[in-house]
């Protein structure tokens, strides 16, 4: 923990050079109000102005660095990283940080996790992909994100691939389903790529779409658990195929030689398609801003209109113009003032949230939370698959955002609402707080042991620091910021209260910071 020792010194230096936090909002906000050329901001702020909603102020650097790490790479900044950013005086440091984070390995881990939720990457019941197919599928998804593969190509491959579940990973799209009837497949495709619940469609519309998926065949091979997904021409006489119609009502005649999945995919990824681009643009927005322009982000329907059609149209156009470069869209959103607003609303107007007048508070996801605890304390978790079969080897130091398979998990992940990956609905992830979760964080041996065994505490105890220095270091590591003078007084008071020894006091301060809303929430 050499880095930590260095940090201790830097923290002190930084502390004296920083002005006291005396802005009305406390440490959450910044006084700077830079004017913005970002097209998102023009639309959002014009709209807010028109609705007479006062936007929040731009967040402080300390808030921004934490938010950017958590939102972009699902990872808490290390104390040293947060400190370096906060001390950086470059005027473009936020944009530079965004660029750096978009290239980190954890970016691919975190967004592969997100996509694996939607694509139901799970070896066992009820999806039953089988462990090494799940791993191959996850690897493929992660590689696509790492390489920033254009999203339309990503989608087309998932929809049209044929071959072995082990060797051609995207074919697992058609295997990761509880029900492989054409209508059920159509529902999954509609949910994933069109953001719409096809079970609410008129039956005829679903049947028309189902026809495109009525000629998918599944064949076993001599290799254990291998399965070939293919265009099964033997099924082309199927009456369903004759009923094929695109969801927008346009009829189509399927030729017996051509895989109808390709016909569908080409219709889907056409920039003029009314669902495809809008869906992904809205999803990306909702992932970063905590709320879709259309909300829920996978429930597009006529009676659920976008809160700001102009904004959604802008994001769509950006995607089409950049040939579906998702990182570019991320970058555009992340650099906007809208994204960088403080979570402290300027006014309590009911419509403010739907118009993005402040950054919404959201509890850390299960995986992000446990990884953050592990990072702070230098501990690790054991992850296991309920049914340990070959191909399910989990190294001891793996981070939970990098787990390849929804069947691999832990009681903590379940308790904190990790999605079961049964349906691909965004709402499967549950970030609502429960009393069980509070019990666990406040009083479980699991969390208590992590803190007590942490390198952070050991280091602070050995390095003979003042209680003030110890508190400052813990704030930087856990909350990515320095404490205010008031906070220092409170922690010093606790150290000096005499009710616990110095080590216990240090543990309790770390415990209190970990249990604070500022740690548990994105803000």
């Amino acid at each position: 923990m050499k880095t930590f020792l260095i940090l201790g010194g830097l923290v002190l230096a930084a502390f004296s050079s920083l002005p006291a936090e005396e802005t009305p909002g406390g440490p959450q906000q910044s006084n700077s109000s830079s004017s913005s050329q970002n097209p998102i901001d023009k639309i959002v702020f014009a709209r807010l102005n028109q609705l007479n909603i006062q936007p929040a102020r731009v967040c402080s650097d300390a808030v921004f660095v934490r938010r950017a790490y958590l939102d972009i790479i699902g990872t808490l900044p290390k104390g040293t990283e947060a400190e370096a950013f906060e001390m950086d005086v470059s005027p473009h440091k936020r944009a530079a940080l965004i660029d750096r984070l978009l290239e980190r390995d954890e970016f691919a881990d975190y967004w592969a996790m997100k996509w694996s939720d939607l694509l139901r990457v799970k070896a066992e019941f009820p999806i039953n992909l089988w462990p090494n197919a799940a791993q191959a599928y996850h690897r493929w998804i992660r590689a696509g994100i790492k390489d920033n593969e254009p999203y339309d190509r990503f989608a087309r491959q998932l929809l049209t691939a044929s071959g072995s579940n082990f060797r051609v990973p995207p074919v697992n799209f058609y295997r990761a389903l509880q029900n492989k009837e054409p209508r059920a497949i159509a529902q999954a495709v509609a949910l994933t790529f069109m953001g719409t619940r096809a079970e609410k469609w008129p039956a005829g519309q679903l049947d028309g779409m189902a026809a495109f998926f009525s000629e998918i065949g599944y064949k076993p091979t001599a290799e254990w658990k291998e399965e070939i997904v293919l265009f099964d021409m033997a099924k082309t006489t199927n009456r369903l195929a004759q009923a094929a119609a695109f969801p927008d009502g346009a009829p189509v005649r399927l030729s017996p030689e051509r895989d109808p999945r390709e016909v569908f995919a080409d219709w889907l990824i056409d920039p003029k398609n009314p669902w495809f681009t809008q869906n992904i643009a809205n999803r990306v927005w909702s992932w970063l801003l905590g709320r879709g322009i259309i909300q829920e982000p996978d429930d597009f329907r006529a009676d659920n209109p976008p809160s700001d059609p102009q904004l959604l149209a802008l994001l769509e156009k950006e995607l089409i113009d950049s040939h579906y470069d998702l990182k570019r869209l991320f970058r555009l959103i992340l650099n906007s003032k809208t994204y960088q607003l403080s979570s402290v609303p300027a006014a309590a107007t009911p419509e403010a949230a739907a118009h993005f007048a402040s950054y919404p508070l959201r509890r850390l996801e299960a995986e992000v939370l446990i990884d953050a605890l592990d990072q702070i304390t230098g501990t690790s978790e054991n992850y296991s698959s309920a049914i340990p079969e070959p191909y399910t080897f989990i190294p001891g130091d793996v981070r939970s955002i990098a787990l390849p398979d929804g069947s691999i998990g832990s009681a903590f992940l379940d308790m904190f609402g990790r999605p079961p990956r049964d349906t691909g609905l965004e709402s499967e992830r549950n970030n609502r707080p429960t009393a069980d979760q509070r019990l666990h964080l406040l009083n479980s041996s699991h969390v208590q042991n992590k803190i007590e065994q942490s390198h952070m505490i050991q280091n602070l105890m050995q390095s003979n620091r003042t209680t003030r220095q110890m508190a400052a270091a813990m704030y930087m590591v856990i909350l990515s910021r320095l404490p205010t003078e008031d906070e220092l007084k409170i922690t010093e008071g606790y150290f000096q209260s005499g009710s616990v020894n110095k080590r216990q006091a240090a543990v309790d301060v770390a415990w209190a910071l970990i249990n604070s809303a500022e740690f548990l929430y994105r803000h």
């Binding site: 340990p388 049964d422 922690t491 809303a517 500022e518």
Partner: protein
């Protein structure tokens, strides 16, 4: 878990439960498949018809039972070596356990390793004709506890989550102890709450009730004194600045409420339910000073305080592919002691009339013993017929429901499917089988499977209700 060839001591098998499910699913007839698709896609189409049918069958909900203690025999206990002995089938079937003992009810005999339960047969009834035909742990566990077949689009909630929905917080349950408790580890094979969501997931205690203190994860800390608990709570409140900056935030308000509930458990009296030192030593001894025995005692204390559903997840090594009989000799006396004392203790506290005790696993075990190596007297999975035991809460004791054939291989009379057992339990709990479950996509799904779902049924257990 590390790479290993054996799953929980099972022999390596060239297929998985998942494959078995898939093979069975592909065997579904075309008509069945279309019907399932219709149900999945447009429950509305059938909804009207279904609700009429279901309404006709609905009994007036009159609750006899207030709580359930589920003794979950994880792994699948052998029916021949527990509640359905077959000494006449010969040693290839019953092995060395060929001297079943009479019980205090004429005509009922059970395995010789359960002498204490034999004295209490008037308190429980044995179903010897449970069946579903599923032989994979996960799929069978799902089937037995949700009454639904696996493989549909939805993951259904299991009985504990359904009871928690209808008897928990929504139904005026105010206890600080969560309404659905698992002693001590969750099952982990599927999410018990299914599509109902995490609000209905069980609270797994962790810890070991045979140890003092029973360190219920989160509730009872073995290392933090009460004074320190109070001191650091105060520290937390002083340092927690976000709620002060955002006083109107609903997320934080919900979190604060959760924290309050958590502390009421940690520092208040409610958490004392887990303090077994409040019980007499003599009673604790009778339960058996082991995890299962003391879990039974905790279960009684929980239902006494109004908790509506307690699962004792009994990981006793019942998945006896190998050396079945040695395991039975080792584990059955422990089970006998804990379960029989539970029945007596519930009676002594006047709780048995209001508490259903449900004993059973996901399936039985193959009646024909595999004597050869590497099994050395093992038994495989057997979903074709198996046993379950029900007591209390309005179920009559001293009866046998159904029967298996002479060798215990198949149902002979009166098949009982998981939906029959769960449906009967719901009925006694006063849960309307036709009540709607809140479905995330708004589909019309009911507590008990409707006839149109195509699940087999042998009818509710009216003979013991």
């Amino acid at each position: 878990m590390r790479y290993q060839l054996n799953a929980d001591g099972e022999p390596f098998k060239p297929y998985s439960d998942a494959l078995i499910t898939r093979l069975r699913d592909t065997a579904i007839t075309r008509r069945e498949a279309v019907r399932r698709a219709l149900l999945g896609a447009g429950g509305l189409l059938l909804g009207h018809h279904l609700s009429l049918r279901a309404l006709e069958a609905a009994p007036s909900p009159q609750a006899k039972a207030k709580a359930v203690i589920q003794i979950w025999m994880w792994g699948g206990p052998p029916h021949l070596d527990t509640f359905d002995p077959k000494p006449e089938a010969g040693s290839d079937y019953c092995g060395p356990l060929n001297k079943p003992i009479a019980t205090n009810v004429d005509g009922i005999r059970i395995c010789e390793l359960m002498p204490l339960l034999a004295k209490q047969a008037d308190k429980y009834s044995i179903i010897r004709s449970m069946t579903h035909g599923v032989n994979g742990h996960e799929t069978a566990s799902y089937m037995v506890q949700t009454a639904r077949a696996s493989g549909g689009r939805d993951v259904y909630p299991c009985a504990g989550a359904v009871v928690s929905l209808f008897k928990g917080y929504n139904a005026g349950y105010h206890g600080l102890i969560p309404p659905y408790i698992v002693l001590t580890e969750p099952q982990g094979r599927f999410s018990e709450e299914g599509f109902l969501g995490s609000r209905y997931q069980p609270f797994a205690t962790g810890g070991d009730p045979a140890k003092t203190p029973f360190a219920v994860e989160g509730v009872v800390s073995a290392s933090i004194t009460e004074n320190r608990q109070k001191g650091r709570r105060e520290l937390l409140h002083k340092l927690d600045c976000l709620p002060r900056v955002l006083p109107a935030n609903s997320e934080l308000a919900a979190s604060a409420q959760c924290e309050k509930e958590a502390y009421d458990l940690i520092l208040g009296d409610a958490g004392k339910v887990f303090d077994l030192t409040q019980e007499k030593d003599d009673l604790r001894d009778r339960y058996g000073r082991n995890t299962f025995g003391q879990s039974c005692l905790v279960a009684r204390r929980l239902v006494e305080r109004g908790v509506p559903y307690v699962t004792i997840n009994y990981k006793g090594g019942w998945d006896t592919h190998k050396e079945n009989f040695q395991t039975m000799r080792r584990r059955l006396p422990e089970m006998d002691k804990g379960m029989s004392t539970l029945l007596q203790d519930l009676t002594d506290h006047g709780l048995l009339d209001k508490t259903i005790v449900w004993w059973g696993g996901e399936f039985g075990r193959t009646p024909k013993v595999m004597w050869e190596a590497p099994w050395n007297g093992g038994r495989g999975h057997h979903g074709e017929v198996f046993s379950a035991v029900l007591a209390g809460g309005g179920f009559k004791g001293g009866h046998i429901v159904g029967s298996s054939d002479a060798k215990g291989e198949a149902v002979q009379t009166r098949p009982v499917y998981p939906c029959d057992l769960l449906g009967s339990m719901y009925e006694l709990l006063g849960i309307d089988p036709n009540a709607k479950l809140p479905h995330p996509a708004g589909l019309d799904v009911r507590v008990a499977p409707c006839p149109a779902e195509g699940l087999k049924t042998g009818g509710r257990l009216t003979e013991i209700m």
